[in-house]
Symmetry: C2
Subunit: 334 residues, 2 copies
């Protein structure tokens, strides 16, 4: 069996470590691992597959070796600067940042939805925003069967989506210490503020959900709005999603869409307290859907509640699934 | 100056204590205080206005004395049973439970919005649901100026809304102890479950928001849906509110509605991190509005973020304001 040479850029970060964990869990056959990071982390060692690998500093020379694919998870600036360098060296980049997602030459891929797009890459494949991945996983079956006219997202996002700074702010906050990462305390608080604000009053995170949903579903006609909110939860994002479909449906039809739906689990028996929560879904790779009910305030309206581990399906799992998809299609055999 | 004889039913509960605190803060002139509670709490003493008052057990005889008004905050069952008893004795009941809110003979009152309804009571006046009060406070100026076609609520509600059990579950949960009150852990978790589930898949809390909003605004034509969610916050509820108005508006017009709007504070300068959060708004009597921005996904669409202290304007402050309104109108002078 062919083994792959894999770089993980940002290997020492919260998502980078999760990438390594999931590469391991999914038994991706790895010949050589190249953990890369900023100068600060260079020289550290990382255990993987029974060996120690030394973290090297990311430079323009880093990709001048035989690497099949590189998973980038070191922030937008690093990706903007180094993903094209890697691509030029013939390395297939799977980029977890927002830097390339809306570039028309870069496929934005959720393997269960549009895996084939990954094959059309020109060197860079973008991994979507965490909140968007779980939303489109839940919405895609509805889109295919009934069409989507409008989506209104309100999110409840975990601090791990901000990396270590967010996690520390919550850990320290419950001990009564001051916030040093977020602009306001996150312990026992909620912040309607994820990523920076734009001139139109939306945050970048909100615009990511709007634009990326359309790109992944491949339909610019879907009308979408979003309010994204940070909550004092460590892992797993939750979303209150209100939609209008194009075609009429029965609630049972919607629920049935999630029977045998790869990557999505229906968890919807509220009378027995069965609905997804962050604690229940954390450390799993699936997207969980519950609280499915008709929105009587409009024609073809529906409310749903969608929860998934933001570091797994929302980031690392999806990125590794993209690599897996390419491997299974023999993409690196060429 | 006339002084009033006031009963507080459920005086030892989380909201009951807040009622007493706000009666004090607002300098409601009280001659005699009658704290009432279940047998379990009877005999305890409560300090109020420089005197000690003994908590008496609530019975059918409790209101056979000279009482001007009684604030009930001891749950729906107690209100259903004893509010009519009090009313029959000539006591004006201000009821904080959901028992009487949708009764067509019971006014549902937010003084800034429909205070005059309180004067038409037949013995019982209902204090609305906490999430509903702050929502209608924010929506009323928009309703008056541009009309409301549709409202989509997604809430982020504090544990104090559940009383002491909710507060303890969160306090103990962050220490690693198990939940004993909520059906699932609330520490570092969010639960799309407030009050019990109905056959249509909605919770009672969600239906309260839908039905009470229409009743307070006096308009059954407004189309409304809601998803209500408990978050690990002690005090203050937050709400992501998406609306469609009947008439077109400019964003500046909306913001200007909150200049000199009694009880509502505009807190909306996101580029300088100015937006309401639970921590900022807790222990104040105002409703805070921020993140006002156009929803481009529909005609006349708007997103907003509304936060208020659920025990104050969401419960005790509003109830005491109803009493204050009646006092100022000379209602008890007859």
């Amino acid at each position: 069996m062919k083994k792959y040479n894999v770089a993980v850029v940002g290997a020492t970060g919260v998502v980078g470590r999760k990438m390594l964990q999931i590469l391991k869990e999914k038994n991706i056959p790895i010949e050589n691992l190249y953990p890369m990071a900023s100068k600060r982390s260079a020289g550290k060692t990382i255990e993987f597959g029974g060996r120690e690998w030394v973290v090297e500093e990311l430079t323009d020379k880093s990709f001048e070796k035989d690497i099949d694919f590189a998973i980038f998870s070191a922030g937008g600036e690093t990706s903007k600067r180094f993903a094209p360098v890697a691509a030029k060296c013939g390395v297939t980049v799977i980029d977890n940042s927002s830097a390339w997602r809306m570039d028309e030459n870069v496929p934005l891929v959720v393997p269960e939805i549009n895996g084939d797009e990954a094959l059309k890459n020109q060197g860079i494949i973008a991994n979507p925003n965490c909140s968007t991945i779980q939303a489109v996983m839940a919405l895609k079956p509805i889109y295919d069967k009934f069409g989507l006219k409008r989506i209104i997202y309100s999110t409840y996002q975990a601090v791990s989506g901000s990396g270590r700074g967010g996690i520390l702010d919550l850990e320290n906050g419950v001990k009564g210490e001051e916030n040093t990462f977020y602009p306001k305390p996150i312990a026992y608080n909620v912040l309607p503020h994820i990523d920076s604000f734009l001139e139109n009053g939306y945050t970048k995170e909100e615009m990511k959900m709007i634009n990326e949903t359309r790109k992944i579903l491949g339909d610019q006609s879907i009308r979408i709005t979003a309010t994204t909110v940070r909550v004092p939860v460590f892992y797993s994002h939750s979303e209150s999603i209100n939609i209008e479909t194009n075609e009429p449906f029965e609630i049972e039809d919607i629920k049935n869409l999630y029977v045998d739906c790869p990557g999505v689990v229906l968890m919807d028996d509220p009378e027995n307290n069965v609905y997804p929560t962050p604690k229940l879904t954390c450390d799993t790779d699936e997207v969980y859907v519950g609280r499915i009910r008709r929105d009587f305030s409009t024609e073809n309206g529906l409310n749903m509640w969608v929860v998934a581990d933001n570091l797994r399906k929302g980031a690392a799992t999806n990125a590794v699934q993209i690599a897996e998809y390419l491997i299974n299609k023999g993409y690196f055999d060429k």
